[in-house]
């Protein structure tokens, strides 16, 4: 079952179509990594799904309930979200912020439960410090603790790693994996830190200029990520001649002068042919495309 499903979802601001017929599927119990450049439409889709923004056309469903159905409001009680910035009352303490949210959520947590949540995000010692005196990272962590208050089945996190230090990022990563694996919480997460996303996401959605380019599972992605061979040589022109002679079509010259070969090639044959042309191989390594490479390769096809 998909907890979030969008159907030809569109959003227009003035004349600009910022979300363009998006059909997105967030499977239950997945960590859905939402990848896209700034202004690609990630946050807008999250806002649309959370009912903050009205779609221009198309629709979506949450837990199978269509957005026009009145039951959508009840279903949203199982959802929590941090969209862009943490929504906190700066003049109140962490505890008061939690009580305030409990009241409008219609839940009641004990002091121990509140403490437990704060401990989860390493804010157990904030005492009566007002939120306005928190650092950006502390606010982000408090927002995450508060997002867990209603024991959600689905969490939408828009750039949750913003403002966190490396240690905080690692802790958040562990927390999200734990929530997903132990408590079965489905997580839709967007982040610019693709290397971090790569460590937790089980499904990816790539978006650019308001268009969802591809949805792919983590396993599929790793199968598709192209393997490449990088060479550093002393004579680039002669090396290119050798590559042409060997019939290699898929290669590119990197900005630092390295040659990146995507075609399958016998390394022995390649080195021998280069040597015949007096091209010295200074460095050679094989690598696999990262999520970032894959995404950049994907958007090149669109732009």
């Amino acid at each position: 079952m998909n907890l979030i499903e969008t159907n030809e979802l569109c959003k227009k601001y003035s004349k600009a179509l910022v979300i363009n017929h998006v059909n997105m599927h967030v499977p239950e119990k997945s960590i859905y990594g939402f990848v896209g450049e700034n202004g690609s439409g990630k946050t807008t889709i999250m806002r649309l799904v959370m009912g903050l923004v009205e779609p221009t056309s198309g629709g979506f469903s949450l837990f199978g309930i269509p957005n026009r159905d009145r039951r959508i409001h009840d279903v949203k009680r199982q959802v929590s979200a941090i969209v862009e910035t943490a929504s906190l009352v700066p003049s109140m303490t962490a505890r008061d912020n939690m009580i305030y949210q409990e009241l409008y959520l219609g839940i009641k947590l004990s002091d121990d439960e509140r403490k437990e949540l704060l401990t989860k995000v390493h804010l157990e010692n904030v005492g009566k410090k007002k939120v306005k005196n928190f650092s950006l990272g502390m606010r982000q962590r408090l927002a995450i603790a508060m997002a867990l208050m209603n024991k959600p089945k689905l969490m939408l996190l828009d750039e949750p790693m913003n403002g966190l230090d490396p240690e905080g990022i690692a802790e958040l990563r562990e927390l999200l994996i734990e929530l997903n694996q132990n408590e079965g919480i489905t997580i839709l997460i967007s982040s610019h830190i693709l290397s971090e996303l790569e460590k937790i996401a089980t499904t990816y959605g790539f978006i650019s200029h308001g268009q969802l380019l591809e949805e792919i599972t983590s396993d599929e992605l790793h199968n598709r990520c192209r393997k490449s061979l990088s060479l550093a040589v002393n004579d680039l022109d002669n090396a290119k001649e050798v590559l042409e002679k060997l019939g290699l079509k898929e290669y590119s010259i990197m900005p630092n002068g390295d040659i990146k070969i995507y075609d399958n090639v016998s390394i022995t044959k390649l080195v021998v042919e280069l040597s015949k042309k007096n091209v010295e191989v200074l460095n050679m390594r094989s690598s696999e495309e990262s999520v970032e490479d894959y995404y950049l390769h994907l958007i090149k096809g669109v732009m």
Binding site: R47, H73, A81, V89, M92
Partner: protein, 289 residues
Amino acid sequence: MSRLFKAFMFKLRKDITFRVTLIVGASVAVFLTLLYLLLDYALFEGEEHVFLNGQSMLITSLSPTQNFGLAIPVNLITYTVLEFTQGSIRNKIISGHSKAKLYLSLYLNGLIFAFSLLIVYVLICFGLGSLIGGFDPEGSFIGGISSIAGGATTLGEGYILRILIIAVLVYAGIVAFTIFFASLFRNIGPSIPVVILVLIMCNLVSTFTSFPGIDEKFIWVMRIVNPLHALSATEVITTTTKDAYDNTIVNASVNMTNETFFSGIGSNIFYIFAFLFGGLVIFKHRDVK
């Protein structure tokens, strides 16, 4: 809705700005009392409480455009705009509250916010005025220059009740109007000048109707169009009676005519619903960032 209300009450209890505003309101009330006391001493050597008495302080303190009156919408704008800028509205929508319920709760919360401040201010003014000057002393100064010109020194029967009913409706309208602009602009900058300007203009126009020789048609239009008219207009009603020797005795008192009272109720109810409904429709269709 009850969840939103409980959350609002909790936030209000914790809100330092609200507490400070309450203290400011109480201080303004005490200051106003002292000012009127000084005025009585300066003009009548304290022998008569023409300015400082219960009924005059009650009527003065109900004015939405004088003294503390303007501070109420200004503070309400600040409170409402913060609901948007701090992301509380966003969180409430995310947690499943419909936009319609949210807007209505903003209005109901606004009523509690405004009336808490107003009641504290009015009660202190009225209480101190009655305590020092008595409720209704002989020759009290009611309604300003026009009542003096009309020779009225007493209040007509039921006037206080009418003023209170109109004041409740006027403030309920001001709350609807304030919430409308605060949630439309979602920014303190333009909201405060617009609300203050409109209130001052309404008050200014309503004072024109007290001018001698003003066209009756203009007064009628104002009764219907201007929601502050009934609260600001001072009408001197004269009645004549004959004494035992068949002499005609003219009695003049400050009162509110039925026309002014009922058109005041009508126009204020209209504005409450117009701003509430208009705000609701706009809020439902506008995006929340």
